[in-house]
Symmetry: C2
Subunit: 131 residues, 2 copies
């Protein structure tokens, strides 16, 4: 396993982290994600960490970095599926992740992304007139 | 790694296979998938195998089984992201996978699922009047 796949779902990218991330894998993922946000013109990134049972300060910081990177590239990022134990660890590590949006699962994360990316459409029932 | 996560995206379930599947992991995935199709009332299943670089007859048969299982539970299944080398291997193994629908990537797979699940809506430009 030398890289984590990044899936395109509509305008969004979906990363499902299933393996324990060693440092090089994490760096590769960051690079790949930045590349793909640009090349696929993604407007949002979903990072699913429902399989992660442990998290250390490195991974916590990486999540923050990926969200920030996505934002400077013009995409919104949402971390989804965080397990309660991981949330506790992140707080105990002193990583507040204030710049990271979270949602319960992929479905809710996608709703949140849609609302962030195109707030008018959400309010007005998917209107697309932008003149 | 004792199970592969199954993500819900709208009405569909998304399974991203990223690790080499040993037999027990594959059996667990089959069971989990059948459970989730029922409990989440999913109308479609996407199985992403873009990270799989090798496939043996067991995995090939498992893909067929998962697709058949989904179908008898009332959901459509699409395998997406198959690498050319994997396609060659599957044919050489004599697994025709005639009952498995495939698509290039998650995005196209999702389009295909939408068309399969709700053909009228696709033709008529997302109409939802079913009276």
């Amino acid at each position: 396993m030398d890289r984590i796949p990044i899936l395109q779902v509509g305008d969004f990218l979906l990363v499902s982290i299933q393996v324990d991330m060693h440092d090089r894998l994490a760096m590769t993922l960051q690079d790949d994600l930045a590349d793909q946000v640009v090349s696929k013109r993604a407007s949002g990134v979903l990072i699913d960490i429902s399989s992660l049972e442990v998290v250390d300060s490195f991974i916590g910081r990486m999540l923050g970095n990926m969200a920030s990177m996505a934002r400077v590239l013009g995409a919104e990022a949402v971390v989804v599926g965080m397990q309660p134990a991981v949330a506790i660890t992140i707080v105990e590590l002193g990583l507040s992740l204030t710049n990271v949006r979270t949602a319960l699962n992929v479905d809710k994360g996608m709703e949140l992304l849609r609302a962030l990316v195109n707030p008018a459409a959400e309010e007005g029932g998917r209107e697309h007139d932008q003149d």
